[in-house]
Symmetry: C2
DNA sequence: CTGAAAGCGCTTACAG
DNA sequence: CTGAAAGCGCTTACAG
């Protein structure tokens, strides 16, 4: 209760301003250095001293000033989120997750979207990190795949957590999303339904995540004796419009595939659009699967089967990674995708 | 070019660390107070002194440390964004807009989602603002409508910018979104198409924005001689599911309305779902209008006519407002909604 | 286990 | 128009 804390503080002679380390030191009858040790959880404080100081801090509602601490530490209490991602839901979910981990930690989340196609975006991130003296940054796909960015962060000594389809870095800096497995699960599902002529609308091959999904999907089908010819693979750009264009190519062919796996839900919506205009029934005449399991997936008709990524968890794990001590060795962090089955697939006619 | 700047800095005897105000003062042959005056754009500096100092700062790539400045100012260089909004696209667009305004200003954006239904969320914001010594915060609907929150910010002396349907505060703290006008435009459009039996799926009446839209819509229809009976107004919660429930009520009636105005696109998607299941053709048998013009609007089939809000502009204006000097009087800031016509409406049969 | 001194990189308050 | 001193609220480096 703030009011009580303020009264408590007033009782101790602190009025009209926030308590400082000097107030706590004076009231506890110790030096400010000792209070500092308590704040920083140094073991070099006698248990009863620690308890007395902690009780006092709670009583007057003392919170150390992050600006002063940051100045002395030469490092702020800010975590940056670096991203270049077109999907709003992903960004917001990731932010929520990161904030879950940061709650009550004294750290705050600073957002930094950027344009990874711009030639000087790395130096833009460099300035951001250096000027704000960030405690660490989270690298979200697609920027997480950029080795030049990671190298720059190493060079300037900024810690980071890297979210990517596979382990691209030291395990203590990696959160792995296993896109290969997500795509393989889709392949197994479509094969089990009986599909043999299956197409794919992928993301740009330059992205590792797109390659992983492609290989995961094609590999799983091959293992079950199904080949995916080149003509059934259309590279697109993760946008609705690129999905429309890709679908026109696939559905305009003499022989249509019986199923299409799209690397995100936006492109799957593009397939729906083209199918609707061409009078092709989903799922009766065409099965469709998306990736992301965004809200859009359940808004479409028929509701779209899609691969869910636990984005909030991913954000939580990435942020938690940055709060951990430097030295603490740890296992590789993973989040696993899984297929959410709705109504957009059925056995081929 | 950072490398050149680093070499330049090295030439001046600054190596292995960022330049400080002391370096600049020494190199310029002035006191650090004079450099400080240049940083803070004080007029009390001779023109040639200013130019010399500024040239030097550029040369060595000097940027004042926000932590040190913040500590001395007792106020950080952080702008907070306070929100409790279920629509991801709105949040992301607003963030982009705010960052547009903050670019090259030395300020950064710290995000703070919260749950306005939680009883102690105001005190949560209070701690956030006080502990981080925020320079200011942006209040986004719906939290922007909470007078208790605004009062708290006044009390603790934190400046804020308030985005709301109408002016709820001093003009220099308000960005007005004119929801009334957006709703009226929908009413005029539907009336012009010939609709007379028009329904509405609203947001919670407790929200001012929902009331504004309701009154704007009903008022515009009344001016054209059309009444909206109570039975045609269903209150819902801005979610897809609540839209489904509301649509079931409206479309299950003996006499169906010929048009439905939904207070967001998510709920309009709910209407689509129910119409699809009931075999009601949109727009032949039912016209539908949404609000937000989210990506979903153009993904639905038929593409949804919807009211666009320029959310990125709104964020830009709100952030710019916080960067302005205290005293500068200014006109009320406005963003105007406008109807985007797609294919979900036609004259009633 | 504890503390006095100096310092982080800026600004305020004051003097000239 | 300019500057020397003190201070913002913490921590580091050192001494005991």
């Amino acid at each position: 209760m703030p009011r009580n804390r303020r009264e408590e503080a007033a009782r101790h002679g602190i009025t009209g301003r926030a308590a400082t380390i000097n107030d706590i030191a004076r009231l506890a009858g110790v030096s400010k250095k000792t209070v500092s040790r308590v704040i920083n959880r140094s073991p070099l404080v006698r248990a009863d001293t620690r308890e007395k100081v902690e009780a006092l801090m709670r009583e007057v509602g003392y919170v150390p000033d992050p600006l002063a601490r940051g100045l002395a530490f030469r490092r702020s209490f800010l975590i940056g989120m670096i991203y270049d991602n077109p999907t709003a839901q992903y960004i917001v979910d990731f932010q929520y997750g990161a904030l879950d981990a940061l709650r009550n930690s004294g750290f705050e989340l600073v957002v930094h979207p950027c344009d990874s196609r711009s030639p000087d975006y790395v130096s833009g991130v460099r300035s951001f990190v250096l000027q704000q003296k960030l405690h660490g940054v989270m690298l979200v796909p697609r920027v997480s795949e950029d080795q030049a960015l990671a190298d720059m962060l190493q060079e300037v000594g900024c810690r980071y957590a890297r979210v990517a389809a596979v382990c691209l870095d030291a395990p203590e800096r990696s959160v792995i999303t296993h896109d290969r497995d997500g795509a393989a699960e889709v392949a197994d599902y479509l094969q089990t339904l009986g599909h043999r002529d299956i197409a794919m609308i992928t993301g740009p091959a330059a992205y590792r995540s797109a390659m992983e999904r492609t290989e995961g999907f094609v590999g799983a089908l091959q293992r079950r004796g199904i080949e995916v010819p080149k003509s059934r693979v259309v590279e697109a750009g993760y946008t609705f419009e690129s999905g429309v264009a890709a679908a026109e190519k696939l559905l305009g062919a003499r022989q249509r595939p019986t199923a299409i796996f799209c690397f995100n839900d936006e492109m799957a919506a593009g397939v729906y659009r083209v199918a609707m205009r061409a009078g092709i029934q989903i799922p009766q005449q065409l099965s469709v699967v998306g990736y992301d399991d965004s809200p859009l997936a359940s808004r479409l008709w028929p509701p779209l089967t899609s691969v869910r990524r636990d984005t909030r968890d991913t954000g939580r794990i990435a942020a938690a990674m940055l709060l951990q001590g430097e030295g603490e060795a740890r296992a590789v962090a993973s989040v696993r995708p899984h297929l959410i089955i709705r109504d957009s697939c059925q056995p081929p006619q």
